[in-house]
Amino acid sequence: MSETSYPVANLCAYLEDSAARFSDRVAVVDPDGSSVTYGELNERANRVAGFLLGRGLQPGDRVGLVQPKGVTGVCAIFGILKARGAYVPVDYTAPPERIRSILDNCRVRAVFADRRCAAVVADIETVVMTGTPAGSDSESLPQGAFAWEKVLRSQPGGAERGSHHLDDLAYILYTSGSTGIPKGVTLTHRNAISFVEWCNSVFNANELDRFSSHAPFHFDLSILDIYLPMKQGSSLYLVSEEVGKNPQRMAAFIASNRLTVWYSTPSILSLLAEFGDLKKYDFSALRLVLFAGEVFPVKHLRSITRHWPAPVYFNLYGPTETNVCTYARIPTPIPDDRTQPYPIGWPCSHCEALVVDYDLKPVKPGEEGLLYIAGPSVFAGYWGRAEDTAALFFERDGRRWYNTGDVVKEAPADGFIYVGRRDRMVKRRGYRIELGDIESALYRHQKVSEAAVVAIPDADAGVKILAYVATIPDAQLSMVDLKIFCSKVLPAYMSPDAILFRDSLPRTSTDKVDYQKLKQESAARVESSKT
Protein backbone atom coordinates (compact mmCIF):
# COMPACT_ATOMS: atom_id res chain seq x y z
CA MET A 1 0.00 0.00 0.00
CA SER A 2 1.54 3.34 -0.93
CA GLU A 3 1.58 5.84 1.89
CA THR A 4 -0.38 8.46 0.04
CA SER A 5 -3.34 6.10 0.04
CA TYR A 6 -3.82 6.14 3.83
CA PRO A 7 -7.28 7.55 4.44
CA VAL A 8 -6.16 9.29 7.64
CA ALA A 9 -3.12 11.35 8.54
CA ASN A 10 -3.10 10.40 12.23
CA LEU A 11 -4.71 7.92 14.60
CA CYS A 12 -7.13 10.41 16.18
CA ALA A 13 -8.69 10.98 12.76
CA TYR A 14 -10.17 7.47 13.00
CA LEU A 15 -12.16 8.63 16.02
CA GLU A 16 -12.99 12.03 14.51
CA ASP A 17 -14.28 10.50 11.27
CA SER A 18 -16.42 7.95 13.11
CA ALA A 19 -17.73 10.64 15.46
CA ALA A 20 -18.86 12.60 12.41
CA ARG A 21 -20.53 9.56 10.81
CA PHE A 22 -21.86 7.70 13.86
CA SER A 23 -22.10 10.27 16.63
CA ASP A 24 -24.73 8.34 18.60
CA ARG A 25 -23.37 4.83 18.17
CA VAL A 26 -21.72 3.17 21.17
CA ALA A 27 -17.96 3.52 20.85
CA VAL A 28 -16.60 1.95 24.03
CA VAL A 29 -18.21 -0.10 26.78
CA ASP A 30 -16.47 0.09 30.15
CA PRO A 31 -15.94 -3.04 32.25
CA ASP A 32 -18.52 -1.57 34.68
CA GLY A 33 -21.17 -1.68 31.93
CA SER A 34 -21.34 2.07 31.27
CA SER A 35 -20.60 3.26 27.77
CA VAL A 36 -19.73 6.30 25.67
CA THR A 37 -20.91 7.14 22.17
CA TYR A 38 -18.56 8.25 19.43
CA GLY A 39 -19.72 11.83 19.91
CA GLU A 40 -19.06 11.69 23.66
CA LEU A 41 -15.69 9.98 23.29
CA ASN A 42 -14.51 12.58 20.79
CA GLU A 43 -15.74 15.41 23.01
CA ARG A 44 -13.98 14.02 26.08
CA ALA A 45 -10.78 13.42 24.13
CA ASN A 46 -10.90 17.06 22.96
CA ARG A 47 -11.15 18.17 26.58
CA VAL A 48 -8.22 15.98 27.59
CA ALA A 49 -6.23 17.49 24.71
CA GLY A 50 -7.24 21.00 25.78
CA PHE A 51 -6.16 20.25 29.34
CA LEU A 52 -2.77 18.86 28.27
CA LEU A 53 -2.06 21.76 25.90
CA GLY A 54 -3.04 24.12 28.71
CA ARG A 55 -0.40 22.40 30.85
CA GLY A 56 2.19 23.14 28.19
CA LEU A 57 2.44 19.75 26.50
CA GLN A 58 4.64 19.96 23.40
CA PRO A 59 4.53 17.75 20.29
CA GLY A 60 6.33 14.48 21.01
CA ASP A 61 6.02 14.73 24.80
CA ARG A 62 5.30 11.44 26.50
CA VAL A 63 2.29 10.90 28.76
CA GLY A 64 2.01 7.84 31.01
CA LEU A 65 -1.10 5.74 31.58
CA VAL A 66 -1.02 3.80 34.85
CA GLN A 67 -4.53 2.57 35.48
CA PRO A 68 -6.91 -0.33 35.03
CA LYS A 69 -8.53 -0.69 31.66
CA GLY A 70 -11.54 1.56 31.21
CA VAL A 71 -13.28 4.20 29.11
CA THR A 72 -11.11 6.74 30.92
CA GLY A 73 -8.01 5.21 29.39
CA VAL A 74 -9.43 5.33 25.87
CA CYS A 75 -10.43 8.99 26.33
CA ALA A 76 -6.92 9.74 27.62
CA ILE A 77 -5.25 7.94 24.71
CA PHE A 78 -7.14 9.95 22.10
CA GLY A 79 -6.72 13.18 24.06
CA ILE A 80 -2.95 12.65 24.25
CA LEU A 81 -2.79 11.93 20.52
CA LYS A 82 -4.94 14.95 19.68
CA ALA A 83 -2.47 17.11 21.61
CA ARG A 84 0.36 15.52 19.53
CA GLY A 85 1.69 13.73 22.56
CA ALA A 86 2.68 10.06 22.75
CA TYR A 87 1.09 7.72 25.26
CA VAL A 88 3.02 5.24 27.36
CA PRO A 89 0.77 2.55 28.85
CA VAL A 90 2.21 0.81 31.91
CA ASP A 91 0.92 -2.20 33.84
CA TYR A 92 -0.51 -0.56 36.96
CA THR A 93 -0.20 -3.86 38.87
CA ALA A 94 3.56 -4.07 38.24
CA PRO A 95 5.97 -3.45 41.13
CA PRO A 96 6.33 0.31 41.79
CA GLU A 97 10.04 0.25 40.84
CA ARG A 98 9.21 -1.13 37.41
CA ILE A 99 6.44 1.43 36.82
CA ARG A 100 8.79 4.16 37.90
CA SER A 101 11.71 2.96 35.79
CA ILE A 102 9.55 3.06 32.66
CA LEU A 103 8.12 6.52 33.39
CA ASP A 104 11.62 7.80 34.13
CA ASN A 105 13.19 6.10 31.14
CA CYS A 106 11.09 8.02 28.62
CA ARG A 107 10.71 11.06 30.90
CA VAL A 108 6.94 11.46 30.83
CA ARG A 109 5.73 15.01 31.36
CA ALA A 110 2.29 13.99 32.49
CA VAL A 111 0.59 10.87 33.74
CA PHE A 112 -2.95 9.56 34.09
CA ALA A 113 -2.83 7.26 37.08
CA ASP A 114 -5.23 5.33 39.22
CA ARG A 115 -5.44 6.65 42.79
CA ARG A 116 -3.89 3.40 44.04
CA CYS A 117 -0.71 4.34 42.16
CA ALA A 118 -0.59 7.90 43.49
CA ALA A 119 2.65 7.41 45.42
CA VAL A 120 4.61 6.16 42.38
CA VAL A 121 3.75 9.14 40.21
CA ALA A 122 3.60 11.89 42.84
CA ASP A 123 6.50 14.07 41.60
CA ILE A 124 5.68 14.00 37.88
CA GLU A 125 5.00 17.45 36.42
CA THR A 126 1.32 16.89 35.68
CA VAL A 127 -0.60 14.15 37.48
CA VAL A 128 -4.21 13.30 36.72
CA MET A 129 -5.82 10.95 39.24
CA THR A 130 -8.42 8.55 37.91
CA GLY A 131 -10.52 5.83 39.48
CA THR A 132 -12.83 5.96 42.46
CA PRO A 133 -11.69 8.45 45.10
CA ALA A 134 -10.67 6.87 48.38
CA GLY A 135 -12.62 9.53 50.29
CA SER A 136 -15.91 11.12 49.39
CA ASP A 137 -14.52 14.28 47.78
CA SER A 138 -11.54 15.70 45.97
CA GLU A 139 -9.70 16.33 49.24
CA SER A 140 -8.24 12.87 48.85
CA LEU A 141 -6.23 14.16 45.90
CA PRO A 142 -2.48 14.32 46.39
CA GLN A 143 -0.98 17.80 46.43
CA GLY A 144 -0.89 19.38 42.98
CA ALA A 145 -2.71 16.54 41.25
CA PHE A 146 -5.77 17.04 39.06
CA ALA A 147 -8.97 15.04 39.30
CA TRP A 148 -10.10 13.33 36.10
CA GLU A 149 -13.50 14.94 36.54
CA LYS A 150 -11.84 18.35 36.44
CA VAL A 151 -9.93 17.46 33.28
CA LEU A 152 -13.26 16.65 31.62
CA ARG A 153 -14.44 20.19 32.42
CA SER A 154 -11.45 21.75 30.60
CA GLN A 155 -11.91 23.76 27.44
CA PRO A 156 -11.81 21.46 24.42
CA GLY A 157 -8.64 21.75 22.39
CA GLY A 158 -6.25 19.89 20.18
CA ALA A 159 -3.35 20.35 17.85
CA GLU A 160 -4.12 22.42 14.80
CA ARG A 161 -5.75 20.43 12.05
CA GLY A 162 -3.13 19.18 9.64
CA SER A 163 -0.27 19.74 12.05
CA HIS A 164 0.14 16.01 12.80
CA HIS A 165 2.73 14.13 10.83
CA LEU A 166 2.60 10.43 10.02
CA ASP A 167 6.05 10.04 11.52
CA ASP A 168 5.11 11.62 14.84
CA LEU A 169 5.64 9.34 17.81
CA ALA A 170 2.23 7.93 18.83
CA TYR A 171 2.98 5.52 21.68
CA ILE A 172 5.75 3.59 23.39
CA LEU A 173 5.25 -0.03 24.44
CA TYR A 174 7.74 -1.43 26.91
CA THR A 175 8.70 -5.06 26.44
CA SER A 176 10.65 -7.14 28.92
CA GLY A 177 13.01 -8.46 26.29
CA SER A 178 14.93 -11.64 26.91
CA THR A 179 17.24 -9.85 29.33
CA GLY A 180 14.45 -8.70 31.61
CA ILE A 181 15.36 -5.00 31.27
CA PRO A 182 12.38 -3.07 29.85
CA LYS A 183 12.97 -1.62 26.40
CA GLY A 184 10.69 1.07 25.02
CA VAL A 185 9.49 0.24 21.52
CA THR A 186 8.65 3.59 19.92
CA LEU A 187 5.87 3.52 17.34
CA THR A 188 4.59 6.24 15.07
CA HIS A 189 1.20 7.06 13.62
CA ARG A 190 2.42 5.60 10.32
CA ASN A 191 3.43 2.34 12.05
CA ALA A 192 -0.04 1.89 13.51
CA ILE A 193 -2.07 3.20 10.57
CA SER A 194 -0.37 0.95 8.03
CA PHE A 195 -1.24 -2.00 10.27
CA VAL A 196 -4.83 -0.91 10.95
CA GLU A 197 -5.45 -0.39 7.23
CA TRP A 198 -4.15 -3.89 6.54
CA CYS A 199 -6.47 -5.29 9.25
CA ASN A 200 -9.34 -3.49 7.65
CA SER A 201 -8.60 -5.01 4.26
CA VAL A 202 -8.51 -8.57 5.63
CA PHE A 203 -11.06 -8.68 8.45
CA ASN A 204 -14.00 -6.82 6.83
CA ALA A 205 -15.09 -5.02 9.96
CA ASN A 206 -18.08 -2.68 9.95
CA GLU A 207 -20.06 -0.52 12.36
CA LEU A 208 -22.18 -3.48 13.50
CA ASP A 209 -19.17 -5.37 14.85
CA ARG A 210 -18.61 -5.72 18.57
CA PHE A 211 -14.91 -6.12 19.33
CA SER A 212 -13.30 -7.53 22.45
CA SER A 213 -10.42 -5.74 24.11
CA HIS A 214 -8.85 -8.43 26.19
CA ALA A 215 -5.17 -7.51 26.10
CA PRO A 216 -3.96 -4.74 28.39
CA PHE A 217 -3.11 -1.45 26.65
CA HIS A 218 0.62 -1.99 27.28
CA PHE A 219 0.46 -5.09 25.05
CA ASP A 220 0.58 -4.62 21.28
CA LEU A 221 -2.60 -6.63 20.68
CA SER A 222 -4.36 -3.50 21.96
CA ILE A 223 -3.52 -1.62 18.75
CA LEU A 224 -5.90 -3.74 16.70
CA ASP A 225 -8.40 -3.76 19.57
CA ILE A 226 -8.56 0.01 19.88
CA TYR A 227 -8.08 1.40 16.38
CA LEU A 228 -9.83 -1.05 14.08
CA PRO A 229 -13.22 -0.52 15.75
CA MET A 230 -12.60 3.25 15.92
CA LYS A 231 -11.96 3.27 12.18
CA GLN A 232 -15.17 1.43 11.40
CA GLY A 233 -17.49 2.88 14.02
CA SER A 234 -17.79 -0.52 15.70
CA SER A 235 -18.26 -0.97 19.45
CA LEU A 236 -15.34 -1.89 21.68
CA TYR A 237 -15.99 -3.97 24.80
CA LEU A 238 -13.25 -3.60 27.37
CA VAL A 239 -12.58 -6.77 29.34
CA SER A 240 -11.48 -5.99 32.90
CA GLU A 241 -8.36 -7.58 34.35
CA GLU A 242 -10.52 -9.66 36.73
CA VAL A 243 -12.88 -11.00 34.07
CA GLY A 244 -9.98 -11.51 31.67
CA LYS A 245 -8.38 -14.05 33.95
CA ASN A 246 -11.57 -15.90 34.84
CA PRO A 247 -12.67 -18.27 32.06
CA GLN A 248 -16.29 -18.65 33.21
CA ARG A 249 -16.85 -14.92 33.54
CA MET A 250 -15.07 -14.33 30.24
CA ALA A 251 -17.33 -16.83 28.47
CA ALA A 252 -20.42 -15.18 29.92
CA PHE A 253 -19.06 -11.77 28.87
CA ILE A 254 -18.48 -12.83 25.26
CA ALA A 255 -21.90 -14.46 24.98
CA SER A 256 -24.01 -11.84 26.75
CA ASN A 257 -22.47 -8.95 24.82
CA ARG A 258 -22.81 -10.93 21.59
CA LEU A 259 -19.21 -10.10 20.66
CA THR A 260 -18.44 -10.65 16.98
CA VAL A 261 -14.62 -10.41 17.12
CA TRP A 262 -12.33 -11.91 19.75
CA TYR A 263 -8.57 -11.29 19.88
CA SER A 264 -6.28 -12.67 22.57
CA THR A 265 -3.27 -14.83 23.21
CA PRO A 266 -3.63 -18.60 22.73
CA SER A 267 -3.26 -19.04 26.51
CA ILE A 268 -6.54 -17.25 27.08
CA LEU A 269 -8.35 -19.23 24.39
CA SER A 270 -6.96 -22.43 25.94
CA LEU A 271 -8.31 -21.37 29.33
CA LEU A 272 -11.72 -20.67 27.78
CA ALA A 273 -11.81 -24.04 26.04
CA GLU A 274 -10.77 -25.95 29.13
CA PHE A 275 -12.56 -24.16 31.96
CA GLY A 276 -15.04 -21.76 30.35
CA ASP A 277 -18.08 -24.05 30.52
CA LEU A 278 -18.71 -23.00 26.94
CA LYS A 279 -21.63 -25.37 26.40
CA LYS A 280 -23.76 -23.18 28.65
CA TYR A 281 -23.73 -20.17 26.31
CA ASP A 282 -24.74 -19.01 22.86
CA PHE A 283 -21.78 -17.73 20.85
CA SER A 284 -23.58 -17.48 17.52
CA ALA A 285 -22.61 -13.81 17.06
CA LEU A 286 -18.88 -14.62 17.05
CA ARG A 287 -17.57 -14.46 13.48
CA LEU A 288 -13.83 -13.90 13.87
CA VAL A 289 -11.29 -15.27 16.34
CA LEU A 290 -7.75 -13.89 16.18
CA PHE A 291 -4.80 -15.03 18.22
CA ALA A 292 -1.20 -13.89 18.52
CA GLY A 293 1.70 -13.70 20.92
CA GLU A 294 2.84 -17.31 21.20
CA VAL A 295 2.53 -20.73 19.60
CA PHE A 296 -0.96 -22.21 19.98
CA PRO A 297 -0.67 -25.85 21.12
CA VAL A 298 -2.77 -27.76 18.60
CA LYS A 299 -4.72 -29.74 21.19
CA HIS A 300 -6.07 -26.54 22.72
CA LEU A 301 -6.68 -24.93 19.33
CA ARG A 302 -8.63 -28.02 18.27
CA SER A 303 -10.59 -27.83 21.49
CA ILE A 304 -11.66 -24.19 21.07
CA THR A 305 -12.57 -24.72 17.40
CA ARG A 306 -14.80 -27.62 18.45
CA HIS A 307 -16.57 -25.44 20.98
CA TRP A 308 -16.77 -22.58 18.49
CA PRO A 309 -17.00 -24.16 15.03
CA ALA A 310 -18.50 -21.20 13.18
CA PRO A 311 -15.97 -18.33 13.39
CA VAL A 312 -13.05 -17.82 11.05
CA TYR A 313 -9.69 -18.25 12.79
CA PHE A 314 -6.46 -16.39 12.08
CA ASN A 315 -2.99 -16.87 13.51
CA LEU A 316 -1.31 -13.45 13.61
CA TYR A 317 2.44 -13.27 14.02
CA GLY A 318 4.72 -10.37 14.76
CA PRO A 319 6.90 -8.89 17.49
CA THR A 320 5.88 -5.57 19.09
CA GLU A 321 8.58 -3.95 16.93
CA THR A 322 6.68 -4.71 13.69
CA ASN A 323 3.18 -5.40 14.98
CA VAL A 324 1.52 -8.23 13.03
CA CYS A 325 3.66 -8.92 9.96
CA THR A 326 2.59 -12.41 8.82
CA TYR A 327 -0.73 -14.16 9.13
CA ALA A 328 -2.39 -17.47 8.38
CA ARG A 329 -6.02 -18.44 8.20
CA ILE A 330 -6.55 -21.67 10.13
CA PRO A 331 -8.77 -24.10 8.24
CA THR A 332 -11.38 -25.74 10.47
CA PRO A 333 -12.20 -28.37 11.57
CA ILE A 334 -8.74 -29.36 12.71
CA PRO A 335 -7.90 -32.97 11.92
CA ASP A 336 -7.77 -35.33 14.92
CA ASP A 337 -4.28 -36.52 14.11
CA ARG A 338 -2.64 -33.12 13.67
CA THR A 339 0.03 -32.36 16.27
CA GLN A 340 2.22 -29.85 14.42
CA PRO A 341 1.47 -26.22 15.32
CA TYR A 342 0.03 -24.18 12.44
CA PRO A 343 2.26 -21.98 10.29
CA ILE A 344 2.51 -18.23 10.77
CA GLY A 345 1.73 -17.87 7.08
CA TRP A 346 2.55 -15.20 4.53
CA PRO A 347 3.56 -11.56 5.01
CA CYS A 348 0.78 -9.01 5.40
CA SER A 349 0.38 -6.84 2.30
CA HIS A 350 2.12 -3.85 3.91
CA CYS A 351 5.15 -5.94 4.98
CA GLU A 352 7.97 -7.70 3.21
CA ALA A 353 9.83 -10.68 4.57
CA LEU A 354 13.34 -11.96 4.04
CA VAL A 355 14.76 -15.22 5.40
CA VAL A 356 18.52 -15.20 5.69
CA ASP A 357 21.37 -17.17 7.22
CA TYR A 358 23.75 -15.74 9.81
CA ASP A 359 25.75 -14.06 7.02
CA LEU A 360 22.58 -12.29 5.88
CA LYS A 361 22.48 -14.36 2.67
CA PRO A 362 18.99 -15.45 1.65
CA VAL A 363 18.38 -19.14 2.29
CA LYS A 364 16.78 -21.46 -0.26
CA PRO A 365 13.03 -21.97 0.12
CA GLY A 366 12.46 -24.68 2.71
CA GLU A 367 15.68 -23.99 4.59
CA GLU A 368 15.66 -22.52 8.07
CA GLY A 369 16.79 -18.95 8.52
CA LEU A 370 16.28 -15.77 10.48
CA LEU A 371 13.18 -13.78 9.60
CA TYR A 372 13.68 -10.10 8.74
CA ILE A 373 10.79 -7.72 8.13
CA ALA A 374 10.58 -4.41 6.27
CA GLY A 375 7.63 -2.11 5.82
CA PRO A 376 5.80 0.92 7.20
CA SER A 377 4.74 -0.87 10.42
CA VAL A 378 8.34 -1.50 11.50
CA PHE A 379 9.20 0.59 14.56
CA ALA A 380 11.50 3.58 14.62
CA GLY A 381 13.71 2.35 17.44
CA TYR A 382 14.05 1.65 21.15
CA TRP A 383 13.71 4.73 23.28
CA GLY A 384 17.17 6.04 24.12
CA ARG A 385 18.94 2.95 22.78
CA ALA A 386 20.29 3.85 19.38
CA GLU A 387 22.97 1.15 19.48
CA ASP A 388 20.60 -1.66 20.42
CA THR A 389 18.29 -0.48 17.66
CA ALA A 390 21.01 -0.31 15.01
CA ALA A 391 22.16 -3.83 15.88
CA LEU A 392 18.79 -5.23 14.80
CA PHE A 393 18.63 -3.63 11.36
CA PHE A 394 20.43 -3.85 8.07
CA GLU A 395 19.83 -1.97 4.84
CA ARG A 396 19.29 -3.66 1.51
CA ASP A 397 17.58 -2.49 -1.67
CA GLY A 398 16.83 0.84 -0.01
CA ARG A 399 14.84 -0.83 2.75
CA ARG A 400 15.41 -1.15 6.48
CA TRP A 401 15.19 -4.81 7.49
CA TYR A 402 14.41 -5.66 11.09
CA ASN A 403 15.71 -8.86 12.65
CA THR A 404 12.79 -10.53 14.46
CA GLY A 405 15.11 -12.99 16.21
CA ASP A 406 12.77 -15.75 15.05
CA VAL A 407 13.83 -18.70 12.94
CA VAL A 408 11.38 -19.78 10.24
CA LYS A 409 11.30 -21.90 7.11
CA GLU A 410 9.14 -21.45 4.07
CA ALA A 411 6.72 -24.16 2.98
CA PRO A 412 5.34 -23.67 -0.53
CA ALA A 413 1.67 -24.12 0.38
CA ASP A 414 1.58 -22.75 3.92
CA GLY A 415 3.93 -19.80 4.02
CA PHE A 416 6.36 -19.50 6.90
CA ILE A 417 6.58 -22.16 9.54
CA TYR A 418 7.74 -20.86 12.90
CA VAL A 419 10.73 -22.88 14.06
CA GLY A 420 11.53 -20.97 17.23
CA ARG A 421 13.26 -18.08 18.89
CA ARG A 422 16.91 -17.91 18.04
CA ASP A 423 17.56 -17.55 21.76
CA ARG A 424 15.42 -20.61 22.55
CA MET A 425 17.66 -22.93 20.59
CA VAL A 426 20.28 -24.87 22.44
CA LYS A 427 22.87 -27.42 21.53
CA ARG A 428 23.15 -30.62 23.46
CA ARG A 429 25.56 -33.39 22.58
CA GLY A 430 26.06 -31.72 19.23
CA TYR A 431 22.38 -31.71 18.40
CA ARG A 432 20.53 -28.47 17.91
CA ILE A 433 17.35 -28.46 19.96
CA GLU A 434 14.42 -26.09 19.70
CA LEU A 435 12.86 -25.96 23.16
CA GLY A 436 9.45 -25.28 21.65
CA ASP A 437 9.55 -28.68 19.96
CA ILE A 438 9.85 -30.35 23.36
CA GLU A 439 6.85 -28.31 24.55
CA SER A 440 4.83 -29.39 21.51
CA ALA A 441 5.68 -33.00 22.31
CA LEU A 442 4.62 -32.65 25.96
CA TYR A 443 1.34 -31.06 24.88
CA ARG A 444 0.55 -34.20 22.93
CA HIS A 445 0.09 -36.08 26.21
CA GLN A 446 -3.62 -36.15 26.99
CA LYS A 447 -3.17 -35.22 30.64
CA VAL A 448 -0.87 -32.25 30.03
CA SER A 449 -2.58 -28.87 30.00
CA GLU A 450 0.48 -26.59 30.14
CA ALA A 451 4.12 -27.14 29.32
CA ALA A 452 7.15 -24.87 29.31
CA VAL A 453 10.73 -25.94 28.75
CA VAL A 454 13.83 -24.02 29.74
CA ALA A 455 17.52 -24.68 29.23
CA ILE A 456 20.09 -23.84 31.89
CA PRO A 457 23.84 -23.82 31.27
CA ASP A 458 25.49 -26.57 33.26
CA ALA A 459 29.20 -27.08 33.79
CA ASP A 460 28.98 -30.88 33.62
CA ALA A 461 26.32 -31.49 31.01
CA GLY A 462 26.76 -28.31 28.92
CA VAL A 463 23.08 -27.65 29.23
CA LYS A 464 20.27 -28.97 31.41
CA ILE A 465 16.78 -29.08 29.99
CA LEU A 466 13.96 -28.71 32.49
CA ALA A 467 10.31 -29.17 31.66
CA TYR A 468 7.60 -27.51 33.74
CA VAL A 469 4.25 -29.20 33.36
CA ALA A 470 0.73 -28.60 34.64
CA THR A 471 -1.82 -31.36 34.22
CA ILE A 472 -5.54 -31.26 33.60
CA PRO A 473 -7.56 -31.28 36.85
CA ASP A 474 -7.41 -34.50 38.91
CA ALA A 475 -5.03 -36.20 36.49
CA GLN A 476 -2.52 -38.68 37.86
CA LEU A 477 0.68 -38.22 35.94
CA SER A 478 4.14 -39.18 37.12
CA MET A 479 7.57 -38.17 35.92
CA VAL A 480 8.11 -41.77 34.86
CA ASP A 481 4.92 -41.72 32.75
CA LEU A 482 5.99 -38.52 31.06
CA LYS A 483 9.58 -39.66 30.51
CA ILE A 484 8.33 -42.82 28.85
CA PHE A 485 5.95 -40.73 26.75
CA CYS A 486 8.80 -38.45 25.68
CA SER A 487 10.85 -41.46 24.64
CA LYS A 488 8.06 -42.38 22.25
CA VAL A 489 7.60 -38.94 20.68
CA LEU A 490 11.07 -37.38 20.89
CA PRO A 491 14.60 -38.44 20.03
CA ALA A 492 16.59 -39.30 23.18
CA TYR A 493 18.74 -36.18 22.99
CA MET A 494 15.60 -34.02 23.27
CA SER A 495 14.15 -35.72 26.34
CA PRO A 496 14.10 -33.27 29.28
CA ASP A 497 16.59 -33.90 32.10
CA ALA A 498 13.97 -33.14 34.70
CA ILE A 499 10.22 -32.79 34.77
CA LEU A 500 8.69 -30.55 37.40
CA PHE A 501 4.99 -30.51 38.09
CA ARG A 502 3.17 -27.27 38.92
CA ASP A 503 -0.50 -26.50 39.50
CA SER A 504 -0.17 -23.84 36.81
CA LEU A 505 2.68 -22.09 35.05
CA PRO A 506 3.69 -18.54 35.98
CA ARG A 507 2.49 -15.94 33.48
CA THR A 508 3.56 -12.41 32.64
CA SER A 509 1.13 -9.50 32.69
CA THR A 510 0.52 -10.17 29.00
CA ASP A 511 -0.48 -13.80 29.69
CA LYS A 512 2.57 -15.35 28.16
CA VAL A 513 4.50 -18.02 30.01
CA ASP A 514 6.99 -16.24 32.28
CA TYR A 515 10.18 -17.90 31.05
CA GLN A 516 12.35 -15.42 32.98
CA LYS A 517 10.86 -16.63 36.23
CA LEU A 518 11.13 -20.30 35.28
CA LYS A 519 14.76 -19.80 34.26
CA GLN A 520 15.60 -18.20 37.59
CA GLU A 521 13.91 -21.07 39.43
CA SER A 522 15.68 -23.60 37.25
CA ALA A 523 19.11 -22.03 37.65
CA ALA A 524 18.67 -22.06 41.43
CA ARG A 525 17.58 -25.67 41.22
CA VAL A 526 20.46 -26.84 39.04
CA GLU A 527 22.89 -24.97 41.31
CA SER A 528 21.52 -26.44 44.54
CA SER A 529 21.52 -30.00 43.17
CA LYS A 530 25.31 -29.80 42.98
CA THR A 531 25.82 -29.29 46.68
Binding site: A461, S478, M479, V480, K483, I484, S487, A492, S529
Partner: protein
Protein backbone atom coordinates in the same frame (compact mmCIF):
# COMPACT_ATOMS: atom_id res chain seq x y z
CA UNK B 1 22.33 -65.60 47.16
CA UNK B 2 18.69 -65.75 48.24
CA UNK B 3 15.56 -64.11 46.79
CA UNK B 4 15.64 -61.72 49.72
CA UNK B 5 18.93 -60.49 48.27
CA UNK B 6 17.23 -59.80 44.93
CA UNK B 7 14.55 -57.68 46.58
CA UNK B 8 17.16 -55.72 48.46
CA UNK B 9 19.16 -55.10 45.29
CA UNK B 10 16.03 -53.86 43.51
CA UNK B 11 15.24 -51.44 46.35
CA UNK B 12 18.76 -50.08 46.39
CA UNK B 13 18.83 -49.51 42.64
CA UNK B 14 15.39 -47.94 42.80
CA UNK B 15 16.55 -45.46 45.44
CA UNK B 16 19.67 -44.68 43.43
CA UNK B 17 17.69 -44.06 40.22
CA UNK B 18 15.12 -41.92 42.05
CA UNK B 19 17.79 -39.78 43.69
CA UNK B 20 19.95 -39.40 40.64
CA UNK B 21 17.52 -39.23 37.76
CA UNK B 22 14.03 -38.57 39.10
CA UNK B 23 14.35 -36.22 42.08
CA UNK B 24 10.94 -35.71 43.63
CA UNK B 25 9.32 -38.78 42.07
CA UNK B 26 7.45 -41.30 44.28
CA UNK B 27 9.07 -44.71 44.64
CA UNK B 28 5.76 -46.36 43.75
CA UNK B 29 5.89 -44.82 40.26
CA UNK B 30 9.17 -46.53 39.46
CA UNK B 31 8.35 -50.20 38.97
CA UNK B 32 10.69 -53.16 38.63
CA UNK B 33 9.74 -53.28 34.95
CA UNK B 34 9.83 -49.51 34.18
CA UNK B 35 12.12 -49.01 31.18
CA UNK B 36 15.00 -46.73 32.14
CA UNK B 37 17.32 -46.63 29.14
CA UNK B 38 14.73 -46.86 26.38
CA UNK B 39 12.58 -44.24 28.13
CA UNK B 40 15.38 -41.73 28.41
CA UNK B 41 15.14 -41.66 32.22
CA UNK B 42 18.76 -42.80 32.20
CA UNK B 43 20.75 -41.39 29.27
CA UNK B 44 24.12 -42.61 28.03
CA UNK B 45 26.05 -40.56 30.56
CA UNK B 46 23.62 -41.63 33.26
CA UNK B 47 24.25 -45.27 32.36
CA UNK B 48 27.96 -44.87 33.06
CA UNK B 49 27.14 -43.48 36.50
CA UNK B 50 24.66 -46.27 37.14
CA UNK B 51 27.24 -48.91 36.19
CA UNK B 52 29.82 -47.26 38.48
CA UNK B 53 27.31 -47.50 41.29
CA UNK B 54 26.51 -51.14 40.57
CA UNK B 55 30.18 -52.16 40.29
CA UNK B 56 31.12 -50.49 43.51
CA UNK B 57 28.08 -51.49 45.53
CA UNK B 58 27.98 -55.15 44.48
CA UNK B 59 31.70 -55.70 43.85
CA UNK B 60 31.26 -56.91 40.32
CA UNK B 61 32.83 -56.03 36.98
CA UNK B 62 30.45 -55.01 34.18
CA UNK B 63 31.99 -55.59 30.74
CA UNK B 64 31.11 -53.34 27.83
CA UNK B 65 29.14 -56.06 26.06
CA UNK B 66 27.02 -56.56 29.19
CA UNK B 67 25.98 -52.90 29.48
CA UNK B 68 23.19 -53.04 26.91
CA UNK B 69 19.46 -52.81 27.37
CA UNK B 70 19.12 -56.58 27.94
CA UNK B 71 20.69 -56.06 31.42
CA UNK B 72 20.34 -52.32 32.12
CA UNK B 73 16.91 -51.20 30.98
CA UNK B 74 14.76 -52.43 33.85
CA UNK B 75 15.47 -52.74 37.56
CA UNK B 76 14.45 -56.43 37.60
CA UNK B 77 16.90 -57.21 34.79
CA UNK B 78 19.68 -55.39 36.60
CA UNK B 79 19.02 -57.32 39.81
CA UNK B 80 19.02 -60.64 37.94
CA UNK B 81 22.23 -59.72 36.14
CA UNK B 82 23.94 -58.68 39.38
CA UNK B 83 22.95 -61.93 41.09
CA UNK B 84 24.18 -63.99 38.15
CA UNK B 85 27.51 -62.17 38.16
CA UNK B 86 27.94 -62.66 41.90
CA UNK B 87 27.14 -66.38 41.67
CA UNK B 88 29.55 -66.76 38.78
CA UNK B 89 32.30 -64.97 40.65
Amino acid sequence: MSDQGADQIKEEIRQYVLNEFLPGEKASNLGDDTPLRTSGIVDSVGLLRLIDFVEERYKIQVDAHEAGVENFDRIEDMAAFIQKKRQGA
